[in-house]
């Protein structure tokens, strides 16, 4: 690895960034995700924390431009130079410029350049790294298409960036706050078998069960025995700050995430185009600012949304709220006399989570069967 002469670096751990404009080659959400994921790569191996700004002057200003674009290094049309970035300092220092004459893509096929890979390289410069002559290093000067899904930073790049900033703080590798920077994200994961464990949201996903709390997710999978614990940003970098509710429509291979008054549809790792959308699109009145929990009944194709002590029923076939709702939860679900933090359908039952307890309910007659600890799924 190498650094710039005199090894300029940011003299703080909280670094801000702002996306000034977008390439027409990609969806905005995909550009934001690529950039957030690129920052997360560097924050996961250093004490650095990155916060996205939406106006004003940020440390790292990110933009797309072609040819001459106001600095001394004009771009050269398709191919050749793809992008450049400036080492840490005030003004243009830290800024990253991407050549709009290239074809930018979120894929790693050969008809375009993967924005995440190029952005991760350029942000290395924005943090003070020069080029590396280690073939395969991220800071190698020449673009190399590679699989980006579980991309891990090569050791040479880790050595370089830690020579400038040291390793992450003890507590945890802080996920990139790519969304809602003013909202605190859980900084340290709770213990799997803590009897007081509570969850923000729960959903199935392709046969697995995902339990969300703050910026973390527990994965219970039929494909491996133990419970996996990850940061949400390692699956969906631009949704790092967590969710209020989530549910899967398995026939469509689609999971819907809710945060405040917005919702996202994802299929596997990918956020579907055009999201986030306002929850009012689903038929909620403007008086509803967020939802507590959601669960989809795969048999009836109805989705139940829980808000306070009431719930709605949404018809996935007609994509509309059913008439006669909202109704009182306690009126229809015997024994559920409180709000619902998270909800799950599994093995023909509903599981309603409230604090550190979960309530198993028979779906057909909506009768309470038994009460268990919320983390009973973790084989404690």
């Amino acid at each position: 690895y190498s650094t710039f002469p005199q090894s300029p670096r940011w003299k703080k751990e909280d670094v801000t960034y702002r996306i000034l404009n977008y390439t027409p080659d990609m969806l905005q959400a995909d550009v934001e995700e690529a950039i957030a994921k690129a920052f997360q790569l560097w924050s996961s191996v250093t004490p650095l924390r990155f916060t996205r700004l939406y106006s004003g002057q940020a440390d790292i200003m990110i933009s797309f431009a072609a040819g001459f674009h106001g600095d001394f290094y004009s771009f050269d049309g398709p191919g050749g130079t793809l992008a450049h970035a400036y080492p840490p300092s005030s003004g243009i220092g830290g800024d990253a410029h991407f050549d709009e004459d290239e074809n930018w893509t979120k894929f790693t096929t050969y008809n375009g350049y993967n924005l995440f890979l190029v952005a991760a390289h350029e942000l290395g410069h924005s943090l003070g790294l020069g080029h590396s002559n280690v073939f395969g290093a991220l800071m190698y000067p020449i673009y190399m298409a590679r699989d980006t899904r579980d991309y891990r930073l090569p050791q040479d790049d880790i050595d370089g960036i830690q020579a400038l900033y040291g390793p992450p703080r003890e507590s945890s590798a802080l996920p990139t706050k790519a969304f809602h920077p003013q909202e605190p994200t859980e900084m340290t994961p709770a213990e799997d078998c803590d009897p007081h464990l509570t969850f923000d949201a729960i959903t199935t996903l392709r046969g697995e069960i995902l339990f969300f709390k703050g910026g973390y997710v527990w994965r219970k999978s039929p494909y491996f025995s133990d419970i996996e614990h990850d940061t949400i940003s390692s699956f969906w970098p631009s949704l790092a700050s967590g969710f209020d509710a989530a549910y899967e429509v398995d026939k469509k291979d689609r999971v819907i995430f809710f945060k405040d008054d917005q919702y996202w549809a994802v299929s596997g790792y990918s956020i579907e185009p055009g999201f986030p959308k306002p929850i009012q699109n689903l038929g909620f009145p403007t008086s509803v600012g967020k939802i507590d929990a959601a669960v989809h009944d795969q048999n009836t194709k109805k989705t139940y949304f829980f808000v306070g002590n009431r719930y709605w029923s949404y018809n996935e076939n007609t994509q509309s709220m059913e008439r006669g709702y909202p109704r009182k939860i306690a009126a229809d679900f015997q024994g559920i006399d409180h709000t619902v933090d998270a909800a799950l359908q599994k093995n023909g039952h509903f599981y309603f989570f409230h604090g550190s307890n979960q309530y198993e309910v028979d779906i057909k007659n909506k009768k309470l069967i038994r009460i268990m600890k919320s983390n009973s799924w973790f084989n404690c």
């Binding site: 080029h131 002559n133 000067p141 673009y143």
Partner: protein, 80 residues
């Protein structure tokens, strides 16, 4: 095959620009220093070949030119 002189000239131009951009090559504008320029350019080609692990010959051979044409980052590999 014999390289068409025009093509050779083009390649030399391209390589000079590349070395100026990324290897801090500065050409003496005064044509009296032609020989000196060629030596200096050969030195910079050697520096670039060494960085990319190519055989260090100082000559603008096919492999070196091919590496120069790869899509890349606009930041120099070496700086004064």
């Amino acid at each position: 095959f014999p390289v068409v002189p025009e093509k050779e000239k083009e390649d030399m131009q391209f390589a000079k620009k590349y070395l100026e951009n990324f290897y801090d090559f500065k050409e003496e504008k005064n044509s009296l220093f032609k020989a000196k320029n060629l030596n200096r350019m050969a030195d910079k080609i050697r520096e670039m070949q060494s960085f990319f692990g190519l055989e260090v010959t100082g000559e603008l051979n096919h492999k070196t030119l091919d590496m120069m044409k790869q899509p890349r980052c606009g930041i120099p590999d070496v700086r004064s």
